[in-house]
């Protein structure tokens, strides 16, 4: 009960059903069987009561016969045992169905994910991926394995018991059920009354969560500035506040909520007096009265069970909605045909691009020639990474077009496009597999010698061999953490192995310290021969010798040319260069003054 208070009041109970219904295909028979077994189980639970009633009636009038008693007792034993077998089988089946459905849903998510434009994933964090693939589908287990079979069987049982009671004696039936609507009404009142505090409760809950994560995330700062006292006070205030509001909510809820719970179990208190009166009047026999005592005592339970099963369904609706929305995203169009490319020049023709209503790139035109280095530079947020990401269609442009070898990237088969372009990401993503497997990701059929050659070219061979397990070292395991520069060199080895004619480096050396950067640059030198190399960079000495430097500012190309030409223009590039020289590569100026001044 206590944990139920946290849910928002707007829930779409159907969302979870809508989500799993399509994936039930293939498990329908099992699912129907599970529900039927669950219903059979609750009916089997009722049979002993029938047997008991027969025994009672006979015993009271003194007509109980030995064979009859044996028969009824064994009947009871068989019915209870088979009831449990039925319930157990129903649970087992419904769980298996649940796991199958979750499996299918996750496969569908994975397949769908692969068809979406990659740009969608740029903003997704690991926690989102976890919610989408792991936690969201996982919650369906509660609905499929418990919610539906138990909810449906509870309803069936409630209807059956009600009918049975009325068939036995309508007056006693009324005496039995009359307290149930009162109990339910009180429950509704209690929920509504507690609900007045819902907003405050949710706010306190959110505040506690936020305060906790800030307390932990900010701990280094707080400690070093000697503020643990205050910061602990903030978070403990939030925790105490939450407890206070919870208690206040409980105080509001309990008077009626607890009364409702008690009444739901107290039918017997109303059955007995009415029964006595009817008994006295001679219009009811003791056996029937006792039948009502036994069956009536648990009359409200199926209803309570049903309400308990609704709760998880409401609980998962938010996550279910999120998955439904994700599955509804439009896949990237892949209608192109394989075409042969004469050369690998990458050309932007009047490209405009924006997302979420915000213009990011405006009228971008340039050509990156085969065999040349094209550098994209400019302040953070200017759009240079976006330009790079449009080439392998992480997003599709809104106006203009991008061609490789004269063919619009959208008219190429996606597979061909991705074979043509090697992209080294700013955040190096490595899989938790061996280093060899990570490099081989560039080309599945590469031999060990080729993997080692690519690593050597990426200047990664030496540090890999220095690891205890060399190429068989598993990334992320055994406490050995690779540095940013080492990870980037593995990613570059991966790209070298891929051997693609167009190479895009999105700040591929951004996280490297200068020692590693020098090594990586050597590696990039190895990569660029005879290919189209496009690089996004902040450290300007890495781009100084590029055949073409594009200075990107506010979503458009402000200047374009070689380093020397650009310096003579005394424009943006000159300013950036001077700032750059001032910040630490002072050495470059003194040792290389001819170029810098």
């Amino acid at each position: 009960m206590t944990t139920q208070a946290g849910e928002s009041q707007q829930v779409n109970y159907l969302a979870s059903l809508q989500l799993f219904a399509p994936h039930l295909r293939g498990s329908r028979i099992k699912f129907v069987a599970a529900v039927m077994l669950a219903v059979i189980a609750v009916f089997l639970e009722l049979l002993p009561i029938w047997a008991a009633y027969r025994l009672l009636s006979d015993a009271i009038v003194g007509e109980l016969e030995w064979p009859e008693a044996i028969k009824l007792v064994s009947f009871t034993a068989v019915a209870t045992a088979s009831g449990f077998v039925a319930m157990g089988s129903a649970l087992a089946l419904s769980h298996i169905v649940a796991f199958d459905v979750i499996y299918r849903l996750r496969s569908a998510l994975a397949r769908h994910m692969a068809t979406l434009p990659l740009g969608l994933f740029a903003t997704r964090r690991s926690a989102d991926a976890k919610r989408l693939i792991v936690d969201g589908p996982e919650q369906l287990e509660a609905v499929i394995a418990h919610g539906l079979p138990e909810g449906i069987s509870a309803v069936a049982s409630w209807i059956a018991v009600s009918l049975w009671l009325f068939a036995m004696d309508w007056r006693m039936a009324l005496a039995t059920i009359f307290v149930t609507p009162i109990s339910l009404a009180l429950l509704a009142f209690a929920t509504a009354r507690g609900g007045r505090r819902m907003a405050a409760y949710q706010a306190a809950n959110a505040r506690m969560n936020a305060a906790t994560s800030e307390y932990l995330a900010g701990m280094p700062v707080v400690k070093i500035f000697n503020r643990t006292g205050e910061s602990f006070k903030d978070v403990s205030d939030a925790v105490c506040d939450y407890a206070r509001i919870e208690t206040a909510w409980g105080r509001d809820y309990l008077p009626m909520g607890s009364t409702s719970q008690t009444l739901a179990l107290a039918n017997i208190v109303f059955i007995l007096p009415i029964g006595m009166i009817l008994l006295q009047a001679g219009s009811l026999d003791l056996g029937t009265l006792l039948f009502f005592v036994i069956l009536g005592a648990t009359y409200s339970q199926p209803l309570l069970r049903m309400f308990n099963q609704l709760h998880p369904i409401a609980h998962i609706s938010t996550d279910a909605m999120e998955i439904i929305e994700f599955l509804a995203l439009t896949p990237q169009a892949d209608i192109g045909k394989p075409s042969s490319l004469a050369h690998h020049d990458v050309t932007f023709e009047r490209v405009c691009f924006g997302y979420e209503g915000k213009e990011v790139l405006r009228d971008i035109s340039f050509t990156a020639k085969t065999g040349e280095v094209t550098a994209l530079i400019g302040p953070s947020g200017s759009g240079k990474s976006t330009i790079a990401s449009l080439i392998p269609r992480f997003h599709d442009v809104q106006h203009g077009r991008i061609t490789i070898g004269g063919i619009d990237v959208r008219d190429m088969r996606l597979e061909q496009l991705l074979d043509t372009v090697a992209f080294v990401f700013q955040d190096t993503f490595l899989f938790s597999e061996t280093i060899a497997a990570n490099i081989r990701f560039g080309r599945a059929d590469a031999s060990d010698a080729e993997v080692a050659a690519a690593a050597t070219a990426a200047r990664a061979n030496d540090f890999i061999l220095a690891l205890p397990n060399g190429y068989q070292t598993v990334i992320g395991a055994s406490g050995h953490r690779l540095s940013g520069g080492e990870r980037q060199r593995i990613a570059i080895a991966r790209a070298i192995l891929k051997d693609a004619p167009v190479i895009i480096l999105d700040e591929a050396t951004a996280f490297a310290d200068p020692e590693n950067e020098a090594l990586i640059q050597d590696a990039l030198g190895a990569l660029s021969k005879g290919r189209t190399l496009i690089m996004v960079a902040h450290r300007l000495h890495t781009t100084r010798f590029a055949e073409q430097i594009l200075v990107v500012a506010d979503g458009s190309i402000a200047e374009c040319g070689r380093h020397d030409d650009l310096l003579t223009r005394n424009g943006r590039y000159t300013r950036l260069w001077n700032d750059y020289i001032d910040t630490g590569t002072g050495m470059a100026r003194s040792s290389d003054g001819g170029i810098a001044s």
Binding site: A52, A59, L216, R227, T259, M276, L290, H538
Partner: protein, 604 residues
């Protein structure tokens, strides 16, 4: 290593019995024990009240069973019993919930506060690693599970036992023999219950481990989708994803198979309690050992004995979850806090000394080996070396983010472990590579630097950090709120706010971990200028990447593989023919880098 440790603690825990779990919770309940206990007792009293209604039923059977009539006295008595029963159930039911709920809310509050308190006493290094999500989940959702256990499951336990106890007591009153028979199935089912609940716990832990592994692979697919797609490996990627999915499903299904049987067994054994006493009652009735009302009463009572006991299955589920939450809780509570000196000493001056410092993370390879060097007061020391040499670790030991394994670090001649935590933090400012901003205003974020700083001080610090201008350009100036983690500001702006904070603090020792990630040159230049204001007249130790920083340092410590290989000034080291010279040469080469065939062949 971490993984193996966790698994070990899992295995260790799964052996402990249910009794231990309750005991642990009881000791954690602290001051709320009374409330928890009252909740359970009231719930029991509620069951006893229900017993009055059963007494009334017995009365009715006894009076009318052999054709007797209900006298007005009987009627009054029955009505009175029922009224008492209803009133008792209502009152005790309310008191039970009120006590259990209040107590459980307070226990969960106390548990949260004690984890949070423990977390701040731990060496900082222990929460810097990637698993920061864990304590947050622990404080929020895991404790909620414990709360549900205390508020719902424990009282339900009282109810599950309360009603049967009352019914059996009544059965004893009616016929002792029958009561014994009714107990048989309960006694028999107890070992089955314990066996199945232990099995459930063990399997659940295994499932957790296996599923954690499979879900890690699933998440990896989702996170790596960009790489997978960019390398055209969708098919291969999906294959391994599918394998993870199938593993996940198979583990789950296997566990269901393992579980169904114990659950059915428990249910079947327990509910033989229905036919068995009825059978014996009939038997004795035919032998004329008992009157005809006794079997009637027995049948009515028997039905109220076993249904409540079946709800133990549900309790088992919640208690398993609470158990897992308590294991995670203890994992944090059992960590040793950073030891504090009983009689703190005061450093004399701000010179630093590393004296044969030895350090390893956990039980891993040593990261620092016999590191010895001195830093004179108000001097600049640059730490350089290849990546993985231990440069950042060295910096982290000074403010005791970790403690050294051997050797000592001295400030003004005093071991840092002999200085009180508060004083130590007063002496040292750390400028982190990653800037953390709190979700308050910019003013709040700078004000953290010094207790009691007024707005004039704060503005002065911001000006010195070259942050004033961009702050004034924001819509609300200093009152602008930053999002959690300071997401609305650029990297360079956030750096400058953190520098303003450090300038405001004005500590005599500054530790600086120069950012390796490149940002654009203009922002970089501003940061450099801001830093130069911070470090004036300070003892500065900097993990340096920028040539200008290195060249202007008074001394350079060259680290390689955890050991100091060279110490000296730039001028001497650059010609010394050692590692520094090689690094320096490579740096120059990198500044002159060019993609040419000549370069390519030179590289080969």
């Amino acid at each position: 290593m971490m993984k193996a440790g966790n698994r070990k603690s899992h295995a260790g825990h799964s052996k402990s019995s249910d009794y231990h779990r309750l005991q642990r919770l009881w000791s954690l309940a602290g001051r709320q024990r009374d409330g928890v206990l009252r909740g359970i007792l009231y719930r029991f009293a509620q069951s006893i009240s229900l017993g009055f209604a059963l007494v009334a039923v017995i009365l009715v059977v006894e009076t009318t069973g052999e054709g007797g009539l209900i006298t007005p006295t009987d009627f009054l008595l029955v009505t009175l019993l029922l009224a008492l029963s209803l009133a008792g159930q209502l009152v005790f039911g309310y008191l039970a919930s009120a006590n259990s709920w209040t107590a459980s809310f307070q226990v969960s509050r106390d548990l949260r506060l004690s984890i949070l308190d423990r977390l701040r006493a731990l060496p900082l290094g222990q929460h810097m690693p990637q698993h920061r999500g864990d304590p947050v989940t622990l404080v929020t959702s895991d404790i909620k599970v414990v709360e549900t256990f205390l508020a719902d499951a424990l009282p339900r336990l009282a109810q599950a036992f309360g009603i049967p106890v009352v019914a059996i007591a009544l059965l004893v009153w009616v016929d002792v023999g029958l009561a014994m028979v009714a107990l048989v199935s309960i006694v028999l089912s107890a070992p089955v219950f314990l066996w199945s609940s232990r099995r459930l716990a063990a399997l659940a832990l295994r499932r957790q481990d296996l599923q954690a592994e499979a879900s890690a692979r699933m998440i990896e697919y989702a996170r790596g989708i960009a790489v997978i797609k960019a390398f055209n490996r969708i098919h291969a990627g999906q294959k391994s994803f599918h394998k993870a999915l199938i593993d996940f499903r198979d583990v789950s299904v296997r566990i269901v198979h393992h579980l169904v049987f114990p659950l059915i067994a428990f249910g079947v054994v327990l509910t033989t309690g229905v036919p068995l006493p009825i059978f014996v009652a009939c038997l004795r009735f035919f032998d004329a050992d008992i009157d005809q009302n006794t079997p009637t009463v027995a049948i009515v009572l028997v039905f109220s004995i076993y249904t409540p006991l079946l709800s133990l299955i549900g309790v088992m589920e919640i208690s398993r979850l609470a158990d897992a939450a308590l294991v995670r809780f203890d994992r944090i509570m059992m960590q040793t806090p950073l030891p504090q000196p009983c009689f703190p000493s005061e450093p004399r001056g701000f010179a630093l000394k590393f004296d044969r410092v030895q350090f390893a993370y956990g039980l891993g390879q040593p990261v620092l080996k016999q590191v010895t060097f001195e830093v004179p007061e108000k001097s600049v020391t640059a730490i350089v070396g290849p990546s993985g040499a231990g440069k950042s670790t060295l910096l982290n030991l000074l403010p005791r983010f970790f403690d050294v394994d051997d050797g000592a670090i001295l400030i003004g001649g005093v071991d840092v472990r002999e200085i009180s935590a508060e004083r130590l933090n007063d002496l040292i400012t750390v400028v982190f590579q990653e800037v953390y901003l709190f979700s308050g205003t910019i003013l709040d974020n700078i004000a953290i630097g010094r207790m009691g700083a007024d707005e004039v001080d704060i503005r002065a610090a911001a000006k010195a950090a070259l942050a004033h201008d961009f702050i004034m350009a924001l819509p609300d100036g200093y009152a602008t709120r930053v999002g959690e983690g300071g997401s609305r500001l650029s990297g360079g702006e956030r750096q400058r706010i953190s520098i303003a904070r450090a300038i405001l603090k004005d500590a005599p020792i500054v530790l600086l971990d120069e950012a390796t990630a490149a940002i654009d040159a203009t922002s970089e230049r501003e940061i450099q200028r801001a830093l130069s204001h911070l470090v004036q007249n300070k003892t500065l130790v900097v993990v340096a990447h920028k040539l200008s920083t290195i060249r202007h340092a008074h001394q350079i410590i060259v680290l390689d593989q955890g050991g100091v290989v060279e110490i000296g000034s730039h001028e001497t080291l650059a010609e010394a023919g050692g590692l520094y010279q090689r690094l320096w040469r490579r740096r120059l080469q990198s500044s002159n880098w060019r993609v040419t065939d000549a370069n390519l062949s030179a590289a080969k």
